[in-house]
Amino acid sequence: MKARVAISYREGVLDPEAVAIERSLRGLGFDTVTGVRRTKLLELDLAETDRAAAEARVREMCDKLLANPVIESYRVEIS
């Protein structure tokens, strides 16, 4: 199975890189842009064949390494 893990900063964590990107877009005249957020996308191949088992495994990976719960939240998609 394949997994996609999207990791982003939690609400309330100010991401200075996203702020800089937004400022740059506005500098280019894209003045309707607000709320730019960056998300890290990881794609994994898994040996599991059961969808629920794969998702549980990936969530475990997120909790142990891939995401830092102090500043980040994550979404998992299995296909």
Partner: protein, 221 residues
Amino acid sequence: MRAAVVTFPGSNCDRDLVVAMEAVFGTSVRRIWHQESDLPSLDLIGLPGGFSYGDYLRCGAIAARSPVLGAIARHAERGGFVLGICNGFQILTEAGLLPGALIRNAGLAFVCRMVEVEVAETSSAFTRGYTGAATVRLPIAHHDGNYVVDEEELARLEGEGRVAFRYRDNPNGSRGSIAGVLSLRRNVLGLMPHPERAVDPLLGSVDGRPLFSSLLAAVGR
């Protein structure tokens, strides 16, 4: 003083930390490779600055899951001292031994300069020697030193007197201008400034020395 410094792949201040500790402690300091999981009996373990694992994923994230961290957590659990400097601080937060997290500097640039730091808390084994010196000068050199904690945790840290160091002029956007924090039991300290780079007048400051001499006094041998 039985002290050791850990080296991770990508550490680059490990030798500086050993030299500074040996100069102040007057004893030799062990060097530990990050793969070791069985440590000798120690009073102090230092986690140095650098770019462990190339800062991949998040600064300190991969180092925090290396075998030596289990041994360091047990050492801290027993009340042993742990000192994390710069990347060492990032590793300690990633390992959950200190609260909060360190993200990209608010100004986005790598900041490398001498800064004024307030010793916000002198009642700890790390800072007891800073009596009478409200402000000290220590160098910083980091890209990800922006300390993040939520309101609740910040209030707890302040209330428990666990903010050990605070920038006079916040260089990186850190919440509450925090430069260094203590664990609940006050035996683990993480800080972004480099005390090991401020132990000799030739380096421009000797304000890092009291941190090491405080520890020596606390250990008492």
